[in-house]
């Protein structure tokens, strides 16, 4: 039995402790906002926050995060997260949308640690998040826009 603290709620899961957090969230808890894109920390689609740090859930065994605070897209409601979400909507960033939970989690983590990121800061924080629809220009603009409102 593994106990996880997800979006402020304790969840018990009867799974192999080596199971990646991504699959515990998806298959175990049916929390489907966190996506699978590569399974090897190459795309960021599975990004969640663990104690506030952006983390690739596809390579994070549940045993490694027991007792830590996990935030997923479903529970991302901090001031920064809501600012990011509002700017994403204002600028219609999304296309297929499949990468965007991860993009929003990565952007939120950036703004939580850096209120006025430069373009270089954005490159550094977001280059691990692939968008095959290449919505990067709007992601950058939306991060700057969200920063304005924080």
């Amino acid at each position: 039995m593994v106990t996880l603290d997800i979006n402020g709620a304790k969840k018990q899961l009867d799974i192999d402790p080596e199971t990646p957090l991504l699959w515990a969230l998806r298959d175990g808890l049916k929390m489907t906002g966190t996506k699978f894109g590569c399974g090897m920390a190459q795309c960021g689609a599975c990004t969640v926050h663990v104690d506030g740090q952006p983390t690739r859930s596809c390579v994070t065994p549940v045993s490694a995060v027991a007792g830590q605070k996990i935030t997923t897209i479903e529970g991302a409601h901090s001031k920064a997260a809501e600012a990011v979400r509002a700017s994403w909507r204002k600028l219609d960033v999304v296309q297929c949308g499949y990468c965007q939970s991860g993009q929003i989690m990565a952007a939120t983590a950036l703004l939580e640690s850096n209120k006025k990121p430069t373009d270089d800061d954005i490159d550094a924080a977001m280059t691990g998040n692939v968008c095959r629809c290449a919505t990067y220009q709007r992601i950058r603009a939306a991060i700057h826009d969200a920063a304005q409102s924080l």
Partner: protein, 735 residues
């Protein structure tokens, strides 16, 4: 779209009105749970197959086209809402069920999304659908208010009779309108009065795609559902010789191992168990009929073939004679690698199979073809196959194929499991990258002749590559005398007026499955034509922009010429490009291409360092796609097309070693990332022409525009793609 509104109206609505109840009954997609509940409410107003208005005034548009990121749902709903005068905040869109009669793509004669055709297909059909519904709501209000219908105005889902100062929301007349006969030949709006078309209504899917609630196939969890991963042959065309499942069966959560035509499926209680089970599986493959060549061999074979004449795709004058007598000759050979689509959501399908029914959930791009292929596999009738089309996490063409590979495979798993449980078949990224159906590898051999006055007098372009369409149901339509239109589009009909032209092509044979990839033949023809023309300009001592302009003489290329001039103007082509910092070479390149009846020109500005590293600083895009239904979506597609095409130019390559794909995930099949994305500026040509698509046309010009900019900066060409830093470094170092 030459049909008059009247004929479309009659034909469309005869079918539509008869089928309205069917639409309601079938419309139970899982991501539209709320809509599904409304659909069972008999008081809906559903005057045709494309929309329904619920008693609360919610307008649901049924899209026969897949939403895979290109904004089709938003564009399609905009067209309906405009003519319906609907309040945009009350508009929704969802995927239509598979139905060849109601929802065929007028371009293909089957239900499917591709060829950047969604908006062109919808223009007449959906304006009429919306206008008809509006007319019926007006009719219902006129009867209730006892006033002439002609005196009732509408806006934002509200009816208004000014003389009697009465207003009512559409919701109030939903049931009365539903009882009226469907009129034909309803008048469409004067475009001058549009309030939504041309005004960038916000995307309908932005909210759900920013809070994690948008439902993709991977997000479908049915009660009792199991998950399967399939072990497929590491070489294309290989078959299963023997299976040792002992170790796989020992993995906790693995339920069963079944053999299917495409390989061996490991069925488990969840994805992680299925993955571990498959890792533990031992399959021995029979490669007797497999492709075992390396791509280096395939390229060498193609280059040899390029020495032989091929099937003639375009001929004008006598190119051989003109080349022989030219004062100057230019030649080049290009190699375009296999490319995987690598949509962000790997392929996946959910299947629920019963004794006489099969229900499918997928980001389905070829609904009625998939329905037919599944029916054939099961021995069912197509109507026994129900397809729920969900959002697709990208496709770029991959989800539309005539074999329905990933869907038929998932159904094969369900069949082999003897219907025990609903099953989700998941592809890992490795499965996706190694799974084939690539943009075909192509070799282009080109020659040009220039006379003593510097005029381009001869042009030859020989293509060698696998045909996408031979052997498919599209062959009879689009392969003529050995020429596959999708191989030579953009080459055979290139826009430049040269007195002597020969374009010929070989449908090369290779055992690698190939498919259309965002902009299809234009992915390679635009690069070959547009970079080679730059070489000609250099050899003739002409400006690349001016040369293009001077050769676009035929009036059928006027719109392309206009975007070319617009892009050059906005990019400041006539002014010198600002120099870079010390040690950085800068250059500017231009390219243009018509694809899918949309015209796009791009100017790229690049910075190149001596180590071959490339930064594309800025791209100016000019596009003419007819009426701009949603300018912001058009801009987004141009931005995305630039990024997608640029990633392929700089990094994209699938290679085979002894028949096995060498790449496996995003570390070695490298996508464009944030730090490489240029600043993209998009300019839309105002137009009253019928709208055309924008999903693909942003892609073709970016590769050649950037390559031409690099050429302007360095004087060097890399003609075997991808244009990597190593190759450019070597080219710069060469004399």
């Amino acid at each position: 779209m030459k049909l008059t509104n009247d004929t479309v109206g009659r034909r469309g609505f005869l079918a539509g009105s008869a089928a309205a109840s069917l639409v309601i009954a079938f419309n139970l997609t899982p991501h539209g749970a709320r809509a599904a509940a409304a659909a069972t409410n008999a008081k809906n107003f559903a005057p045709n197959a494309f929309l329904r208005v619920a008693p609360d005034g919610t307008v649901t548009v049924l899209s026969k086209h897949l939403e895979m990121g290109q904004g089709s749902y938003t564009g399609i709903a905009t067209i309906v809402a405009e003519e319906l005068d609907a309040d945009w905040s009350k508009v929704r869109c969802e995927g239509a069920p598979a139905d060849a009669k109601l929802y065929s793509n007028h371009l293909f004669g089957m239900q499917g999304t591709g060829g950047s055709s969604s908006i062109a297909n919808s223009w007449d059909e959906l304006r009429t659908a919306g206008a008809t519904a509006r007319a019926m709501l007006i009719q219902a209000a006129a009867a209730a208010w006892k006033v002439p219908a002609g005196e009732i105005e509408t806006s934002k889902s509200t009816l208004r009779h000014a003389a009697s100062n009465r207003t009512a929301p559409y919701a109030q007349f939903v049931s009365a309108a539903a009882a009226l006969p469907v009129p034909a030949g309803v008048k469409l709006k004067d475009p001058a009065t549009y309030t939504l078309i041309g005004k960038s209504a916000p995307r309908l899917d932005s909210n759900a795609k920013t809070d994690g609630t948008a439902q993709f196939t991977l997000d479908v969890y049915l009660p009792g559902m199991v998950t399967a991963l399939v072990a497929r042959s590491p070489k294309f065309g290989g078959t299963v010789k023997s299976v040792d499942a002992a170790a796989a069966k020992k993995i906790k959560g693995v339920l069963e191992i079944v053999q299917i035509p495409s390989g061996v499926a490991v069925v488990a209680k969840d994805t992680w168990a299925a993955k571990q089970g498959r890792d533990a599986l031992n399959v021995t493959w029979d490669f007797a009929n497999a492709e075992t060549r390396s791509t280096t061999t395939i390229v060498a074979d193609y280059k040899k073939l390029a020495q032989q004449p091929g099937a003639v795709a375009a001929k004008k004058g006598d190119a051989a004679q003109a080349l022989a007598s030219a004062a100057k000759r230019v030649e080049a050979t290009y190699v375009f690698p296999y490319l995987a689509h690598a949509p962000m959501e790997p392929l996946d399908t959910v299947v629920k199979l019963g004794p006489d029914s099969c229900e499918i959930w997928a980001g389905d791009q070829f609904q009625t073809i998939d329905q037919g292929n599944v029916a054939k596999l099961l021995g069912f009738k197509p109507e026994q196959i129900k397809i729920n089309t969900l959002y697709a996490g990208g496709s770029f063409g991959r989800r539309a194929n005539t074999q329905s590979d990933f869907i038929v495979e998932a159904v094969a798993v369900a069949k082999a499991m003897k219907q025990k449980a609903p099953v989700k078949v998941v592809w890992t990224r490795e499965d996706d990258i190694r799974g084939g159906l690539y943009r075909p590898l192509f070799v282009h051999k080109m020659e040009a002749g220039i006379d003593a006055q510097g005029n381009l007098t001869a042009w030859t372009n020989r293509l060698v590559g696998q045909s996408i369409l031979v052997g498919t149901p599209f062959e009879s339509m689009m392969v003529k005398d050995g020429v596959d239109m999708t191989s030579v589009e953009g080459s055979a009909d290139m826009p430049y007026d040269v007195a002597n032209i020969l374009v010929d092509t070989h449908n090369a044979k290779a055992g690698v499955p190939v498919l259309w990839w965002r902009s299809v033949g234009h992915t390679h023809t635009a690069f070959a034509v547009e970079t080679f023309l730059d070489d000609v300009a250099k050899a003739a001592g002409k400006d690349p922009f001016e040369l293009r302009r001077s050769l676009m003489t035929d009036t059928k290329h006027t719109r392309l010429k206009t975007v070319l001039e617009l892009a050059a103007d906005k990019a400041g082509w006539s002014k010198p490009l600002a120099a870079g910092p010390a040690g950085v070479l800068r250059g500017r390149g231009i390219a243009a291409a018509e694809s899918f009846s949309t015209y796009v020109a791009q100017v790229a500005e690049v910075s190149v360092k001596p180590d071959g590293s490339i930064k594309v600083d800025r791209v100016v895009v000019a596009v003419d796609c007819g009426v701009a239904v949603n300018p912001d979506v058009i801009k987004a597609q141009m931005e995305g097309g630039v990024g997608f095409g640029l990633g392929a130019l700089l990094h994209g390559e699938i290679t085979l070693k002894d028949g096995e794909v060498e790449q496996s995930n995003f570390h070695d099949y490298v996508p464009l990332r944030m730090d490489e994305m240029p600043k993209v500026e998009v300019f839309i040509v105002p137009s009253t022409a019928a709208p055309t698509g924008v999903g693909e046309p942003g892609v073709p010009p970016i590769g050649p525009a950037v390559a031409n900019a690099i050429f302007a900066a360095t004087g060097k060409r890399v003609r075997e793609l991808p244009l990597t830093q190593e190759k450019l470094k070597a080219a710069i170092a060469s004399a």
